[in-house]
């Protein structure tokens, strides 16, 4: 039975970080920004941000100097991606990816709600850089932001009145699937098929939407791009680290079940973003394809791939969870593992077979009883699915599970002795409703 109680949350900028927020409205403007009309009004947007300064090849130069990387999880250098598509001639296509897929991530929805014009500016600027005449914006409809699609459509209408946009923008609604935002799944959906990942033999920058070279960027990446097009590379680098410059949006889950979206500089210590007091037993960094960290370890680390990757986690799409001490880490891990197994596209044998097997075994581990056999099986299956799917779903799932088993080792010992230390049985980590039919992938 899935409980679907909506949880209220608010954008909360970090206290006193200089130069922030850039993408989302400052706290003082929040009440005003909540008024739908403010986000939508193109003229108000131009008054706040000004006009674009760098366009075309000059923009690509600035992007390269700025070192902007993708904010959708893969962190690929943006300038390189654009150059790869730009070199392919005039029949190129652009897609903005707002399909977060992660139940725990709402930063793209927040961005599209509060600052749709930054995303749409970025879409136009990127389209100009690759000489594309059509751009697609791919997004979920989300309950926390009612009528998000209509909101973006209203923003488009506001721009249409001004007449400055050159590329036509088409909205495509993504199904509420975890994998819907995967690059090749996006291309499949826009091409009219189900939103399932495809073989990587022909990369999308060669053959994508309608068979044409396609550039896909996360909506937050496009928003940063729109600001770099105004303020330049040096401005972008004024926050963040040398290796990972700029700011990023995070969806922060507190141990009290409150969730907020925030914008922070890369390289910010995790203990400034999360309350890591006694009520917290572990930290998840990078969402459900990310990695678990012990609180002690998390206190030593910053929000950067340079530090998180060696620790087995990652920045990913900026999902940070402070996991409460009162909950059972193993039960929550098993619940998410079941979710990830359900969300397999079911195209590749190892994933289609392996993930349900892993989830089934973890459901036993989640109970207060010895499960040594099941743990051995999980480790075997984890080795069998890694790298054997068409996308990184099995790999990400294994990273999530393996790090959880490591961080919650103490709880495993408790369960093996027939005990569970958890006092709070209410579900904590969000999962969404399972797909019932083939149409749930469209």
């Amino acid at each position: 039975m899935s409980v679907t109680a909506p949880v209220r949350y608010r954008h909360q900028p970090p206290p006193g970080e200089p130069g922030l927020p850039r993408l989302l409205p400052a706290a003082a403007q929040l009440a005003l920004a909540d008024d739908q009309a403010t986000g939508v009004d193109f003229a108000a947007h131009l008054r706040r941000h000004g006009l674009l300064r760098f366009r075309g090849p000059a923009l690509i130069e600035q992007l390269a100097a700025a070192g902007l990387t993708g904010r959708g999880g893969a962190a690929f250098p943006v300038a390189r991606k654009i150059a790869a598509v730009a070199s392919r001639g005039t029949k190129t296509v652009l897609a903005g990816n707002g399909a977060e897929g992660e139940p725990g991530s709402t930063k793209d929805a927040a961005l599209l709600w509060y600052a749709p014009h930054l995303v749409l500016d970025g879409l136009q600027a990127a389209a100009e850089a690759i000489d594309a005449s059509t751009a697609y914006l791919y997004l979920h409809e989300r309950r926390g932001y009612p009528a998000l699609v209509d909101h973006v459509r209203a923003a488009l209408a506001s721009r249409h009145a001004a007449g400055t946009d050159r590329a036509t923008v088409e909205l495509v609604v993504a199904p509420p699937r975890f994998l819907a935002g995967e690059e090749t799944a996006l291309v499949a959906r826009v091409n009219g098929r189900a939103a399932r990942p495809a073989d990587k033999t022909r990369p999308v920058f060669e053959r994508g939407i309608s068979g044409r070279p396609t550039l896909v960027h996360n909506v937050e990446t496009l928003a940063h791009l729109a600001l770099i097009a105004r303020h330049g590379a040096d401005w972008f680098r004024s926050v963040g680290t040398a290796g990972e410059p700029g700011s990023t949006l995070c969806t922060v889950h507190g141990p009290d079940r409150r969730v907020h979206v925030t914008e922070t500089a890369l390289g910010t210590p995790l203990d400034r973003l999360l309350t890591l007091g006694d009520g917290v037993q572990a930290v998840l960094a990078g969402g459900y394809h990310g990695g678990w960290l012990s609180v002690a370890r998390a206190r030593q680390l910053t929000l950067s791939n340079a530090e998180l990757r060696p620790a087995g986690a990652m920045v990913g799409a900026g999902v940070l969870v402070a996991f409460p001490a009162a909950c059972c880490g193993l039960a929550e891990m098993a619940n998410v593992a079941r979710f990830l197994a359900r969300e397999s596209a079911g195209q590749c044998g190892p994933c289609r077979n392996g993930l349900p097997a892993i989830a089934g075994a973890l459901s036993v581990v989640a109970q207060p009883r010895p499960a040594e056999q099941e743990l051995v099986s999980v480790r075997r299956w984890a080795g069998l699915v890694t790298g054997r799917g068409a996308c990184h779903h099995p790999d990400g799932t294994v990273r999530f599970v393996a790090s959880a088993l490591s961080v919650f080792a103490g709880e495993i010992a408790e369960h093996a002795a027939g005990r569970c230390t958890a006092t709070d049985r209410a579900p904590f980590l969000p999962v969404s409703t399972p797909p019932q039919a083939e149409s749930d992938w469209r």
Binding site: D199, Q347, C348, G349, R380, G383, R388, L405
Partner: protein
């Protein structure tokens, strides 16, 4: 579409995970390179190029795959280099995840 490898460079056996439905013909033809996991899907020894002695059988496996899931790709350089070990195909064993 798989490209023909340049003359002189080796080829590697590649399986499309989406097309593969676990027929197992490849593991019969190339037991040195392919074993099947517990669900019947192929585990291909990944290191370096296919030895010349198996090249023809590999092409046969590609043609005979009922699902058209196999292809021959230009081999990427073996991370182990040109050592004696690198010349032998690695045993197709599933990796065990160490945590």
């Amino acid at each position: 579409m798989p490209e023909k490898p340049a003359h002189g460079r080796g080829v590697q056996l590649h399986v499309s995970p989406i097309a593969c439905s676990g027929h197992g013909v490849c593991s019969e033809l190339l037991p040195e390179l392919v074993t099947l996991d517990e669900w019947g899907y192929p585990l291909i020894a990944a290191h370096g190029a296919i030895p010349a002695s198996l090249a023809r059988t590999a092409r046969r496996a590609v043609t005979n795959c009922p699902a058209l899931a196999l292809s021959l790709r230009p081999a990427r350089p073996d991370p182990r280099g040109n050592s004696e070990e690198a010349q032998r195909p690695a045993p197709a064993r599933p990796g065990i995840l160490r945590t």
